[in-house]
Amino acid sequence: MTELTNLTVAQIRDGHRAGDFSAVEVAEAFSANVADAKALNAFIVETPEHALSAAKAADADRAAGTLKPLSGVPIGMKDLFCTHGVQTTAASHMLEGFVPRYESTVSQKLWDAGAGMLGKLNLDQFAMGSSNETSYFGNVISPWKRKDGGNAALAPGGSSGGSSTAIAARLCPAATGTDTGGSIRQPAAFTGISGIKPTYGRCSRWGIVAFASSLDQAGPMARDVRDCAIMLENMAGFDPKDATSLDMAVPNWEAALSSDLKGKTVGIPKEYRLEGIDPDIDAMWDAGIAMLKDAGATVVEISLPHTKYALPAYYIIAPAEASSNLARYDGVRYGLRDLPEGAGLQDMYASTRADGFGAEVKRRIMIGTYVLSAGFYDAYYTQAQKVRTLIARDFEQAFTSCEVILAPTAPSAAFGLGEKMADPLAMYLNDVFAVPASLAGLPAMSVPAALNREGLPLGLQIIGKAFDEQGVLDAGLAIEERAGFTARAEKWW
């Protein structure tokens, strides 16, 4: 029998249904891998008992003929989703020990669909970072190594770095992620897996620790496109508790998957051809274009003229919203309190926040506070929101001549831990291809497409029209079938 931890979500679901193995066997196999992978630091909390209890229920449901869509599938939960009775930290000291008395809508949907939880996955603190180096609970280490004879520890991407590492290392078949400016797609690309950020509003934000609310969107990460479709079907859906939740039916994305792109037009944005970019990235992009042509698509060049302004606009808008959202951490209602001897209320706030937030979180709160402050609001924040309108218009215009857009996910392969931490701007630039779709609220996914010359995975990004996750998944599937990406990290942990 195939090793259970090598199975995809679809294979686990179907194999369990067919009686090839029990859900308990699957949960135990993955929990054993989780327990054996401490060196990767992918999990903040391990919950084998949750996975086991869901597995027992799945086996009982099979006997009773009442199987659910994800019966028998254990998953990882990014530690940004509030989970009832299980510590939820957003990888911050501020929320260390915080045990929610409620369940996020997305995680509840997954449990209702029969999934079990293997644990809470590490991430960049408050989802702010592109390398998982800002977590209070330590760096997540990518399972991948460069084939250069060295042994450098590589970044798993961020902010969903625990999710990407856990899937790539076979610690879970799928996991939740959240994407504010690339936090699902970039880590997926760095670790050779797939991930989709759906249209803004598809997945409820209720119960997800907020970073930048106009951008935050949950989505699945998994080994292939089909698994992303299955997971997304069980995460998406209208939620009256989220004011920006889309009141739309959830399509049967998996059933409708088709890699036949005849009659479809794919746009290639000329502004994404960056000067001086790694030639391996350009070569992968060209190969991706050929794959989509092979699948029957017509390829046209498009223009997204405001692309170069997306990243600076993002680094005003996201910190501004973060400074507002994170004002809630005051040492009064939940989370950390630091009360120096004899301190008053204001000193307690300042001391708690100094102690509870990491350097990158403070940096973003400070930027956000500054750009929203009297006298600077119009020059920075209003200007950025106007530029955001122009970026969204660029996409609207482009989508008059194509159905999906193909681009690289990130400008490089995974970098080494510590290589970019000294320079915040260099780190921010890693999201240059991911941020525009976030600002426009569009569905976008990353699929593994190639290995670079160092033997590290590279991802291709597909950006679709609002609500057209199907188009994105279909193009992703066409690439997946042709790229034949089967490489995986050799076990060293």
Binding site: P100, D330, G331, I367, P424
Partner: protein, 100 residues
């Protein structure tokens, strides 16, 4: 536009984050680097462009005007609300003495 250490301390005070002089000095450089970079937005012609308020067109809903419409987020959950408070007492959030 560049900001000095006094401005950094003012922002930190507005953000309610205590910072040391050494942190203020380090942050001065970092914040100026980031703000200098985002200033390129000023060169975009935004004449007649409305700032974005909603990324996906959506209607704002009103919930039914009833008490505890959603049992999870309605009232009557004091103990749940206080469960994670660092200093809850007598059914209230505890805060240090405030003297103005």
């Amino acid at each position: 536009m560049t900001i000095d250490q006094a401005t950094v301390r003012k922002i930190a005070s507005l953000a309610r984050i205590a910072i040391s002089d050494a942190e203020a000095a380090a942050m001065e450089g970092e914040l100026n680097g980031i703000l200098g970079w985002v200033e390129q937005l000023g060169e975009v012609d935004v004449t007649g462009v409305e700032p974005m308020t909603a990324v996906i067109p959506n209607v704002l809903r009103l919930r039914d005007d009833v008490i505890d419409a959603d049992p999870l987020t309605g009232g009557g959950r004091r103990d749940d609300v206080l469960a994670n408070a660092p200093a809850a007492m007598h059914g209230f959030f505890g805060v240090p003495k405030v003297i103005e």
